[in-house]
C-alpha cells in the first residue's frame, strides 16, 4: 500500500503514488510488478472513462495541481510515465 505520507520524491515517487492509486482505487487485479511505467493503461483497460475522471480528481488533490480539461487526452494518460510527466510539467509551471 502506497500511502500519501510515504516519503517519495521526483518522477519515481510520482509514478509510485500513481501506481498505488491504480492498485488501490481502480482495482488493478494482477501483481503490482506487472504495472510497469510503460504499460498501455487504456489499451489494457486499466483505466476506463469513469476511472479516468477519478484519476484526474485524485491527481489534482494528491499533487495540489490543476489539470486543464485540454490536458485530459490519451497522450497524457496512456501510461504511468506519461501521467507522471504531466504532473511534473504542471508542477514546474506553478
Amino acid at each position: 500500500v502506497i500511502r500519501r505520507d510515504t516519503i517519495l520524491t521526483g518522477m519515481a515517487g510520482t509514478s509510485q503514488r500513481i501506481r498505488g492509486f491504480l492498485v488501490e482505487e481502480l482495482y488493478w487485479p494482477r501483481p503490482m510488478s506487472e504495472l510497469s511505467d510503460d504499460l498501455p493503461l487504456i489499451a489494457e483497460h486499466v483505466i476506463d472513462s469513469m476511472g479516468l475522471l477519478r484519476l484526474v480528481a485524485w491527481l489534482e488533490s494528491e499533487f495540489s495541481i490543476d489539470i486543464q480539461d485540454a490536458d485530459v487526452v490519451p497522450a497524457n494518460f496512456g501510461t504511468i510515465a506519461a501521467i507522471a510527466a504531466l504532473v511534473g510539467r504542471i508542477q514546474q509551471t506553478r
Binding site: S49, G51, R54, D69
Partner: protein, 393 residues
C-alpha cells in the same frame, strides 16, 4: 431576527447575488414575461420551434452569456449566468426554448470556447451568440446512450481531411442547426481514448438531419437523428486534437450538468407562488384548501425543495467561478435539481387538482417537460453512478 412570512417567505433566502446580478435577473424576468410566453399552448401542441423567440433571446444576450465579448458574447461568470437563467425559468414558461438555449451554450459554444483554435472561435462564436447560427451536439447514437463512448460513427483520415460515417440520435437543435459538433471514433479499439470531435456545417455534403422526434415534453425544442455518409470535413474541422473527444465531452457535460437546470429553480419558485396563492384562495369544505395539511405539507415540501435546489445551484456556480468544480459536484447538482423539479411540478399539479391537469394552467406541461431533466445530460441513474464512483464504490 428578520421575520419572513407570507409572500416574502416564498423566494429563496438569501439569494447571494450582488446588485448587478439582481438587476440582470429582474430584467430577464421582465423580458421573458413580455416576450416569450405568447401562444405557448399552441406552439407546444404543434411542437413548434420559434426562431423569432430565439433571435429575441440572442438580442438580449442570453446565448452569449458564457462567451467573452471578444467573440461576441457577454462573458459573465457562472453565478451571474445562474442568476440570468433562474430569472428566465421564472419568467418563461417555455421550458423547451430554455432547454434549446442551454443545449447550445453548454454543448456547442463552450467546447468551441475551451478547445477551439482562435480561428474557429472567431468563425463560429459570434454567430452563435447573435442568434444567426444555431448549434447542435451530436454524440448519442442508437447503440450508445449512457455508455456514451461506445461510438460506432467513424472518422477516417484522408489526404486533406476526414470522412465521417455513421448515425447519431437525440441531437438537440439538429433540425434548426447550422453547425454541429460531431463525435466520432478514429480507432474503435481505443474506446473512449479514440474519440475525436469535429465541427461540421449543416450544409456539408453527406450529412442529413432527420425530422424532429415527437415527444412527451420540451416539445418546442427539437431533437433529431443525424446521418453521415462519406461526409467529408477538412483538417481544420477537428476541435481540439484527435483523441480529445472525451475531454471535450466531459467539459461540456460538467458545465451542462451544473447549469442546465438553473431555469428550473426559477420555475419551481413560480410553481410555489402559484400553489401558495391557490391554497389561500381555493375554498373547499368551508375553508381554504391550504388549511388542510394534505395540501399545506405538500407545499411545504415544495418550499424545501426550492431552497435546497437554490443552494445547490449557487454552490455549483460558485465552484465553477473558483475553478474548483468537479464532475462529482456537477452530478450532485444535476441529480438533485432534476429530481426536485419533477416532484415540484407534480406537487403543483396535485395542489391544483383537476385544474392542474388541464392544459390552460400550464402545470401539466411543466410535469411533461420536467421528466426530461432526469434523462438528458446523463440519466439520474448515471449521475448516481458518477457520485458512487467518486466515493470509491
Amino acid at each position: 431576527m428578520t421575520r419572513r412570512t407570507g409572500d416574502t417567505a416564498i423566494a429563496p433566502h438569501p439569494d447571494g447575488l450582488d446588485e448587478e446580478q439582481r438587476e440582470l435577473k429582474r430584467s430577464v424576468v421582465e423580458f421573458a414575461h413580455a416576450e416569450l410566453n405568447r401562444d405557448l399552448d399552441r406552439r407546444d401542441h404543434e411542437a413548434e420551434f420559434s426562431r423569432d423567440l430565439w433571435l429575441k433571446c440572442a438580442a438580449l444576450g442570453l446565448q452569449g452569456l458564457p462567451i467573452p465579448a471578444d467573440y461576441g458574447g457577454v462573458g459573465v461568470r457562472a453565478t451571474t449566468i445562474a442568476a440570468a437563467l433562474e430569472g428566465l425559468g421564472y419568467g418563461c414558461a417555455d421550458n423547451g426554448l430554455i432547454f434549446s438555449l442551454n443545449a447550445q451554450m453548454w454543448a456547442c459554444e463552450l467546447p468551441i470556447l475551451h478547445f477551439g483554435t482562435e480561428e474557429q472561435k472567431r468563425r463560429y462564436l459570434p454567430g452563435l451568440c447573435d442568434g444567426s447560427v444555431i448549434g447542435a451536439h451530436a454524440m448519442t447514437e442508437p447503440g450508445s446512450g449512457s455508455d456514451a463512448y461506445a461510438l460506432a460513427t467513424t472518422a477516417t483520415p484522408t489526404d486533406d481531411g476526414w470522412l465521417l460515417n455513421g448515425s447519431k440520435t437525440f441531437a438537440t437543435n439538429a433540425p434548426e442547426s447550422d453547425l454541429l459538433i460531431v463525435f466520432a471514433t478514429t480507432d474503435r479499439t481505443l474506446g473512449f481514448a479514440g474519440i475525436t470531435a469535429f465541427l461540421v456545417l449543416r450544409r456539408t455534403a453527406g450529412l442529413e438531419v432527420g425530422p424532429p422526434f415527437s415527444k412527451m415534453g420540451l416539445r418546442t425544442s427539437h431533437l433529431a437523428d443525424v446521418f453521415m455518409s462519406d461526409c467529408f470535413v477538412p483538417v481544420d474541422s477537428v476541435l481540439g486534437s484527435p483523441g480529445a473527444g472525451m475531454a471535450i465531452f466531459n467539459t461540456s457535460m460538467r458545465w451542462e450538468r451544473s447549469l442546465i437546470l438553473a431555469g428550473a429553480v426559477g420555475t419551481m419558485q413560480r410553481q410555489l407562488e402559484r400553489s401558495v396563492r391557490y391554497g389561500r384562495e381555493r375554498v373547499q369544505f368551508g375553508q381554504p384548501i391550504g388549511r388542510f395539511q394534505a395540501v399545506s405539507h405538500r407545499i411545504a415540501d415544495m418550499k424545501l425543495r426550492l431552497e435546497t435546489s437554490h443552494l445547490m445551484l449557487y454552490r455549483m456556480a460558485t465552484l465553477l467561478d473558483q475553478g474548483l468544480a468537479t464532475d462529482l459536484d456537477a452530478a450532485l447538482t444535476k441529480l438533485h435539481l432534476s429530481e426536485a423539479f419533477v416532484q415540484s411540478s407534480l406537487d403543483a399539479l396535485h395542489v391544483h387538482g383537476g385544474y392542474g391537469y388541464v392544459t390552460e394552467t400550464g402545470l401539466e406541461r411543466d410535469v411533461r417537460d420536467s421528466v426530461a431533466g432526469k434523462i438528458y445530460s446523463g440519466t439520474s441513474d448515471m449521475q448516481r453512478n458518477v457520485i458512487a464512483h467518486h466515493l470509491g464504490l
